[in-house]
Symmetry: C3
Subunit: 401 residues, 3 copies
Amino acid sequence: MTESNDSLQRLAKLDYRQMYNHDFLLTWEKTVQELQAVFTVADILGAMREKNISPRIFDSGLAISVFRDNSTRTRFSFASASNLLGLTVQDLDEGKSQIAHGETIRETSNMISFMADVIGIRDDMYIGKGNAYMRQVAAAVQEGFDDGVLQQRPTLVNLQCDIDHPTQSMADLLHLIHHFGGVEQLKGKKIAMSWAYSPSYGKPLSVPQGIIGLMTRMGMEVSLAYPEGYDLMEDVEEIAGKNAAASGGKFSKTHSMAEAFQDADIVYPKSWASYAAMERRTAMYGEGDFNGIKALEAELLAENAKHKDWECTEAMMKNTRGGKGLYLHCLPADISGVSCQQGEVAASVFDRYRAPLYKQAGYKPYIIAAMIFLSKVKNPVQTLESLINANVKRSYTFSGR
Amino acid sequence: MTESNDSLQRLAKLDYRQMYNHDFLLTWEKTVQELQAVFTVADILGAMREKNISPRIFDSGLAISVFRDNSTRTRFSFASASNLLGLTVQDLDEGKSQIAHGETIRETSNMISFMADVIGIRDDMYIGKGNAYMRQVAAAVQEGFDDGVLQQRPTLVNLQCDIDHPTQSMADLLHLIHHFGGVEQLKGKKIAMSWAYSPSYGKPLSVPQGIIGLMTRMGMEVSLAYPEGYDLMEDVEEIAGKNAAASGGKFSKTHSMAEAFQDADIVYPKSWASYAAMERRTAMYGEGDFNGIKALEAELLAENAKHKDWECTEAMMKNTRGGKGLYLHCLPADISGVSCQQGEVAASVFDRYRAPLYKQAGYKPYIIAAMIFLSKVKNPVQTLESLINANVKRSYTFSGR
Amino acid sequence: MTESNDSLQRLAKLDYRQMYNHDFLLTWEKTVQELQAVFTVADILGAMREKNISPRIFDSGLAISVFRDNSTRTRFSFASASNLLGLTVQDLDEGKSQIAHGETIRETSNMISFMADVIGIRDDMYIGKGNAYMRQVAAAVQEGFDDGVLQQRPTLVNLQCDIDHPTQSMADLLHLIHHFGGVEQLKGKKIAMSWAYSPSYGKPLSVPQGIIGLMTRMGMEVSLAYPEGYDLMEDVEEIAGKNAAASGGKFSKTHSMAEAFQDADIVYPKSWASYAAMERRTAMYGEGDFNGIKALEAELLAENAKHKDWECTEAMMKNTRGGKGLYLHCLPADISGVSCQQGEVAASVFDRYRAPLYKQAGYKPYIIAAMIFLSKVKNPVQTLESLINANVKRSYTFSGR
């Protein structure tokens, strides 16, 4: 566990005291040192598991999940992280609950939290809703804790909202740290966060927003590219700009994929809906105007189809630094000729980066576990040391005891 | 753990030997001492968890849940209780099973029980069905155990049936014990179990039935109020009368909410369907007469609407003892102006009692855990002492070891 | 644990080294010694649990289940086995996932496996699909492991495919071993695997195929009976023939239930669809021809109805050895006059064998646990000894510590 010793020493020098008992909702609400603490703990937990040392810190306790949108990767990552730490996932399936009775969020939040240590929420479908919902839940359980209703204050982890997707962007960044050999190596690297064509409609904005909001913290040069009309939330673009200024990085926008890709060290071509369209959709949803939503969908697909040239082809990849930029995607990607006729990325590009892409996804369970760990453990360094010394086997084998 | 020492001494004096390996189906099948054992163990488990002492008694084992009606509170309470004791919940989702093949209850009960320590069932939709179903399951697993099919005989916990809702009424009563400072303080206290108007249809009778069947055990004065036609099951009313006679309490009925509220120490205003209507509905269901059920629903909503004055308003609350009666509800309540236009309770009344209401709900996980504990542990006092001495941390922290 | 000592000694003499880190997909891919190792470990785990000794070998870890068809027995057996060993089941509900996006099997397999020790799959609906799917998943996680994407290579357990149902047939065989007093007692015993009439359509072929593919390994005389047109997969019949030749058993086919039952020690009357019909159905499914499937269903039910005399009646049972052949079924059975008007078996026959049938089903959790154990534990004998000596209680009782 020599790497872990190094990591523990690094962790000991960081200031992350504010993470204890606090939620993880937006990366830009955290200090750079706090983000580094998450990466460091994620790496330590990964190394421990690799060495068959169990980092279980709970003998019992629930991790509540609320998925208001479909999920495979994040669902399994949350389940993996919770399980690794000793928590049991209890999913709040709003279809099987009594919530339809008109129950308030305040009430439900308390009712599910009597033995909850963590609540993970995905709510990414409607602009202005998801993050707001998470904050309502957070306020409700805080009130419940203050009133003596709850023995413990469950901490929230944002598993994707309308604004940010922190477990994704943090996993992406940890991948970059490993790929380039350290967070300090990222300074000055250029990343192209680019829109790409997809034959599907209404993908959330939270991934590109999360990327520009996070990568600008690390002194990187972030180039955001999209066709006219596919704007992100203004607030987040503003935050990205401020972040870049503070970190010595750069944030710029362009309407050319090729320009963004030019000399890029990293490219992240991914489809999304436009903010304006998502806002219209949210309003229609609020009014129950499902015909309107259908019509909007058709309109947007037609709009998308005007930009089929926004594809991460081999030719496009040639623009990247030495033609060897690192391709990222949050998965699943729309792969031309594989999952659709024409999509975000050429099959040959995707295939070349398959193993690194899967590794990128593999950091998410550890990022989530680290977020939980830092919010639930008062003294992370000593606790990790103590767990490493205790050396309880995750998977029992005769030789192991 | 001084309170726990007192509680353990109290527990040691109670006779609850019959609870070992027995089901918990109706509160009135249990002696007062057995009920007190449940409260005492619930309090001890609560105090242990508060002090971060794990009461886990299972290294593995399943807690099967069967929810034949939607549930949030009880589902999460059952999950919390099972998890606290070390059991993993496995839900029998009858839609995803092969039960539709025409499999018998006897068979399914055994098939799911090979490693089941507990089975929790909610089946509250049809009069004459839910409790009967539970007894069929109980008989089936008993037979399986006797025949050597099952290594252990899973015990059943009634998570709400057509007759009783024991985990609810017991949590309600534990709340009263804490609120009034001891079970002996409840003698002579007046509780109004009153029907209240709701714009929804067909709420189960098991909550009011559970309340009159249980509170009459404790020497309380139970006043049951409802508009003509909203009778409960005759059998249960009879039991309530007998209980009151035996405990030195009182059981009376009235058709006036105000009369029931007069000088009441506790009020429990809650909507329910009438027994006669539920019986008609059950018959229609048996015949597959879904149009009939729809027509009945409309008829009952119209009937309900004649009694909109059965609302727990501020004016109505003034009738209670000193205007300060304790408001109870099993939640979620139909709150006027919040979850519906007009409902069971005024928003200002509900808001004033929100924190105590949530605490009331918070006892349910511990009540369920105590029921499981007393049915699965042969020697509860020594086991609890041993767990307290072992002092395994529920949530690991460095300082904790 | 004297029986366990004997079993451990028997286990020590078997060669099952190839099972470590390998999947369990078809019984005929395993050597007889490997199959015996599964039975032996299943018995040891059963004896340990009976004696309240926990065989938990994982401190954390996921057991992924993928059910592409309804399941009660196998779902609960997989959950029980996983829980007994310390794994948490995480179900991949393909309806709630993002797989519909057109994601590849290769990708999904890796995405769910970052912390997966086992993957159990049921995929039995379409000829040529289920087993092939399992092998695609196996190849994908192998590749992920080789590429450094996965820390561990999850092993697959076939929970029923189009070809075999190994956890069922192995549980059935373990039942026979116990019933007849040892695997060596099975040599020369006659088993009739017979088609039986059912008013339902399209039951999988994997149970009869699994039975003829496995029982022929044990020197048994396997008589396969079905009405003309209800053929099984040719490949599997061929394998059964070869197995019988190698083991000194016999494999024959007949179109008479009575002939198969003649002097049979064991009978397994069960309905299935014909291979040809299942192939037509699979083709229609591939073309999205749901009207075609409906028409085929009606045609097949009419075809089935010509063979209502294929019922395991009391008269039919008289043909068995001394009229006392052992009746087997994988459950649920179509019982005449109980679960249907006329079906696979007379109620009186079924009732007489109810307890043994339930015991037969009760072996499945242990068979699955043994399969997982042998694939995940490098040194099974020493590990089991060590677990028995450690003597951790599965269910804590005061007396137990």
